[in-house]
Each structure stands twice: as structure tokens, then as C-alpha cells.
């Protein structure tokens, strides 16, 4: 029985991957868009100023040269948010077309049906991130010092948490036409509150409280920690929060997710 579940998950993921690859706009947008943004912005500013840590301990943001934020972390977050937006769009299209309902009428479990999309999004995130790293190495040789595996793991954990929020948002989307709108309306303010552009502790208390239950905030903190080489241990709270939010949003989506 478990082998059939795994087989079903694998088959569905593989079919969904092929279907996604047949949609030229989706594929290009997902894999290359964040890299293109990274390269264009990177070209526009001096490389050495680009990727320096924005808020090293003891330094204020205004004291830094170049961009007031970490472009690499922004690009990674754009990848994760892209994945979640694509997830919301796919879920709304599948729901409207009765595809989710049809899949539910098979022996596939609900978790497998949705899990296939999570696996797929994480796989595409990995590819996109790899492209980002390759572009970074080529554009700014010697500047990027970060541990790529550690950074990648943090991005995947953040993406997982953001995707689980995506399933909750997907249940709020009435028709596919609203998917992009609701996704953007939810994720861009989250990005603004994430601490990437303004230090987290300068936000008003109400915003900080909201930001605390948003995966983007903890993803940014963890990624900055990895970037600064302070590492996972120093940011275990953020990693734990990403996992906890993943659990909480997943549990919530089992209650609110609409299949039809």
C-alpha cells in the first residue's frame, strides 16, 4: 500500500512536471525571471557593493554602501514567492476545471494530490536557485562567500513554509482571474514587512506581531544569518518558526482548502 502511494506521488509529480514544462510562459517565468532580475539589478550597480551584508552586527543600514538590501536574498525570496503564486494559480485553474475533484475521485489521497505540487515547486526552486548561484559566480567572481548548500537549504525551508501559506490563500481565490491579484496583494506586503528592506526591530509593534507569523520574515532572518555566516544555530528560532508555520498553515489548509 505505501509503495502504491509513493508510486502515485511520483507519477503525478512527473506528469505535472511535464505539463508545466509544456507551458512556455510558466516555465520561463518560474526558472529564469528571478535570475534575470538579479542579473539586471546586479549589472546596474557595482558588484562589490551589491552583495555585502546589509545589517552586519553593530552597523546601521545607512552606513553601508551600494544597495540598502541584500539582492541575493531578495532574488531567493522572489523565487519562493513565484513558486507560491504559481501554486495559487494552478490550484484555482484545477479547481475551476474540476481537475481537483476528478483526482479526488481516484484512490489518491488529498495529501498526495497537493504534495505532488509541493515537490514540483521545490524542485523548480532548486533549479532556479542553482541558476542564480551560477549567474552570481559569473557576474561577481570572488564576492559571494556564502555556503551555497546551507543557503539553498534555507531557501527550500522558506519556500516550503511559504507554499503552505499559498494553499491557504488558494482557498480564498474565487476564480483563476483573481489568482495573480490575491497572490500579489498577499506576498508583496509580506516582503515589505520581512525585514529585508527595513530592520525588523524598527517596525511598529503591530507590524512586528503580524510579521512574526509570516514565513517571509523568518526566511529573511535565516537567510541573512546564513549569509553573515552566523549560521543555523544562531537562527534556530527562525528555522523552527518556518517549520511551525508550515505545520500551522498546512493544518489550516486541510480545514479551509476547497476542492471544487
Amino acid at each position: 500500500m505505501p509503495s502504491r502511494i509513493l508510486n502515485g506521488l511520483w507519477k503525478l509529480t512527473w506528469v505535472e512536471a511535464k505539463i508545466f514544462a509544456r507551458e512556455p510562459m510558466g516555465l520561463v517565468g518560474t526558472l529564469f525571471m528571478p535570475v534575470v532580475v538579479f542579473v539586471l539589478l546586479g549589472r546596474a550597480f557595482a558588484p562589490a557593493k551589491l552583495v555585502g551584508p546589509p545589517h552586519p552586527p553593530g552597523a546601521s543600514a545607512s552606513a553601508l554602501e551600494g544597495l540598502p538590501f541584500n539582492l541575493a536574498i531578495l532574488s531567493a525570496l522572489v523565487i519562493a514567492i513565484n513558486a507560491a503564486q504559481s501554486l495559487i494559480a494552478i490550484m484555482s485553474i484545477y479547481r475551476e476545471g474540476g481537475i481537483l475533484k476528478r483526482l479526488r475521485a481516484t484512490p489518491l489521497s488529498p495529501v498526495t494530490i497537493l504534495g505532488a505540487h509541493v515537490v514540483l515547486k521545490l524542485a523548480f526552486t532548486t533549479i532556479s536557485l542553482t541558476l542564480l548561484v551560477l549567474a552570481g559566480r559569473r557576474l561577481f567572481p570572488g564576492v559571494i562567500q556564502v555556503n551555497v548548500l546551507s543557503f539553498g537549504a534555507a531557501v527550500l525551508l522558506g519556500t516550503l513554509s511559504i507554499l503552505s501559506l499559498g494553499f491557504v490563500l488558494a482557498s480564498l481565490v474565487p476564480t483563476p482571474r483573481f489568482a495573480q491579484l490575491i497572490g500579489a496583494a498577499a506576498f508583496y506586503p509580506m516582503l515589505a514587512l520581512s525585514g529585508l528592506f527595513f530592520p525588523f526591530d524598527r517596525l511598529p509593534l503591530a507590524f512586528r506581531t503580524i510579521a512574526f507569523v509570516l514565513p517571509t520574515t523568518h526566511a529573511v532572518a535565516l537567510l541573512q544569518g546564513v549569509w553573515d555566516s552566523s549560521g543555523w544555530m544562531a537562527h534556530w528560532v527562525n528555522a523552527a518558526m518556518l517549520l511551525a508555520l508550515f505545520g500551522a498553515y498546512s493544518a489550516l489548509s486541510t480545514k479551509v482548502f476547497r476542492w471544487e
Binding site: 502504491r4 507519477k11 505539463i19 476545471g97 474540476g98 476528478r102 475521485a105
Partner: protein
């Protein structure tokens, strides 16, 4: 067939959505090896009833057993033994026909040969086509293939031919009788009375969520609309007057060369033919008008299915 065991039993099923009563105290049985049709206009509660039976909706009241299983409690086991086709369903736009069949066949404990199934349904030439490029009839044939991939014992077909042209519809009808002939039970819904008449061994008429009549199409017609008409084209002007005296005749009217004799009883048509022969009436044209399920529906509800 009439004494076969029941594979679906529904008793006192009730379901409401907000204030709307979708299904109101419906009880029915579907017997092994028959094609059973739920018929009625859109919004009569056909799909809701079917989805409760499939286990996709939770009824508010009533009990349902399918193949001896409770669709909600034993859903996992039941899904291995039933096949479903949903009304107006779609698949992923860019999934290929063979990929869908391959995916579906991997989900069941046992599955038939997908290629042979595609051939049987006339889709072998489309195995590499994307779903979005298929015609309406081809899409429905693919959905039938997905519903049959694991040789289910009961097949649920919801408004299978809605939106298809007459030719595609007829082709699908042949496939549905084929499902029954291979030993499966078919539980279907339709708002097309002609379809129900052609396909269904028994039908249940649903109106505003209530089941108002069950039986074979012939039984229902005989019971509720026993009248039939014989229409002659003849230059014999007093044909109506001469046949009006027959005991089974209720009414005989003439309009130019067209003469309509209306009566009732199984022997009515034979009696009219005999009378015409006996009277030596010369006839240029002859046809009978026998009531259909459409007429039964009109009689029982006071309106047409399409209204």
C-alpha cells in the same frame, strides 16, 4: 434481471445547501448489471444524489450502501471498485491522452491494458494528443476510459453527453451499453429523455429533489401515458368518422388529408390497422405516435424537462 441483487441502496437520503433542499427523502435501489438512470431537469438533485452515493458529498440524512460498503466510511476500498465520470469535468490542458491513462492505471490495485482500452474507445489515434486539443466527444471517451481503467463493478456517469453533437452522442451511447454488456452496473444521470429511453433499463424521475417515479421506461409510459395516436394521410374524407365508432378510440380528427385517431390500450394500433383493412380505406401514409418519457415527465410535473 429484475431479481438481481441490489448493488446500490439509498434510503431516505436528504441533503441541503444553505436554505436550498437539494435532495429530499430519496430512496432507491440499483440492481446488479442494469443501467439505471436518474432523470429530471437541471437542478432536480440528480448530481447531488449521485455524489452522495459516490461518497464525494456527505448527506445530511439517510443511509447509502454501495457494493455492501458505506461510501463515507469505506471510501478507500470503494474507490478501487467504482469508476466515475463527473459532469463538465476537465483534465490538465496539456496532459497527453496516454499520460492520463498511464497515471490513472498506476493508482489502482489492478488495471486493464490502457492501450487496448483506448483502442476499444476509438482513441488510439489520439494517444499523444493534449487534452485541450480533443473534441467534446473525444474528451468524454477519455473520461470513460479513466472510469473503466480498473474494471470497476459500478460505473457512475453524470450527464455524459451534455454538449455533444448527435453523432458523438450516439457513439457514446454504444459505449455505455457496452459497459453493461461486459457485466458492470451503470448508474447515470441525464436530462435528455431520449438518452434515458435508449439506454436505461430503469429510470427514476427526480423533481425539486424528490423522487416522483421509478420503473422501466416502458412501464412508466404505459402507466402514465397509455394513449397513442395513429396518423393517416388519405384522400378518404370521412376516415375519421368511420373509425370514431371503434371502442378504443378516444378522439378522431381530420385536417385536410391528415387524419389523427387517438386511443389507448396495447391493442389499439392493431385494431386501427385491422379496421382500415376491413373498411377498405385507401391510405397514402401511416405513422404511429407513441408517448415517450418526455410525455410522462410532462404529465407528472406539468412542465417539460427543458423548461
Amino acid at each position: 434481471m429484475s431479481e438481481s441483487r441490489a448493488v446500490i441502496s439509498v434510503s431516505n437520503l436528504g441533503k441541503r445547501f444553505g436554505r436550498t433542499i437539494a435532495v429530499d427523502d430519496v430512496s432507491l435501489e440499483v440492481r446488479e448489471g442494469e443501467i439505471f438512470g436518474l432523470i429530471g431537469p437541471n437542478g432536480a438533485g440528480k448530481t447531488t444524489t449521485m455524489e452522495c452515493v459516490e461518497g464525494h458529498r456527505v448527506p445530511d440524512r439517510g443511509t447509502i450502501t454501495v457494493l455492501g460498503l458505506d461510501p463515507r466510511r469505506d471510501g478507500t476500498e470503494l474507490r478501487q471498485r467504482i469508476g466515475v465520470q463527473h459532469q463538465e469535468a476537465q483534465l490538465q490542458k496539456r496532459i497527453k491522452v496516454w499520460e492520463a491513462v498511464d497515471l490513472w492505471s498506476s493508482l489502482y490495485a489492478r488495471a486493464v491494458d490502457g492501450e487496448a482500452l483506448l483502442e476499444r474507445l476509438g482513441l488510439e489515434g489520439k494517444r499523444n494528443a493534449w487534452f485541450m486539443t480533443l473534441s467534446g466527444g473525444q474528451k468524454q471517451r477519455l473520461f470513460i476510459a479513466l472510469a473503466l481503467i480498473h474494471e470497476p463493478e459500478v460505473v457512475f456517469l453524470d450527464e455524459l453527453t451534455t454538449g455533444l453533437d448527435p453523432q458523438a452522442r450516439r457513439a457514446i451511447w454504444g459505449l455505455v451499453t457496452g459497459i453493461r454488456d461486459r457485466g458492470a452496473t451503470v448508474f447515470m444521470t441525464t436530462h435528455l429523455m431520449e438518452e434515458a429511453e435508449r439506454l436505461c433499463d430503469r429510470v427514476a424521475i427526480l423533481e425539486h429533489g424528490r423522487l416522483i417515479e421509478v420503473g422501466t421506461p416502458e412501464e412508466l409510459v404505459r402507466k402514465h401515458c397509455p394513449e397513442r395516436s395513429v396518423v393517416f394521410t388519405s384522400d378518404d374524407a370521412d376516415i375519421a368518422a368511420r373509425l370514431r365508432a371503434m371502442p378504443a378510440v378516444l378522439e378522431a380528427t381530420s385536417e385536410g388529408a391528415m387524419h389523427t385517431i387517438r386511443g389507448q390500450g396495447d391493442d389499439f394500433v392493431t385494431d386501427v390497422i385491422n379496421a382500415v383493412a376491413r373498411e377498405g380505406i385507401r391510405v397514402r401514409g401511416f405513422r404511429t405516435e407513441i408517448p415517450t418519457l418526455e410525455d410522462v415527465f410532462l404529465k407528472l410535473t406539468g412542465h417539460r424537462v427543458r423548461d
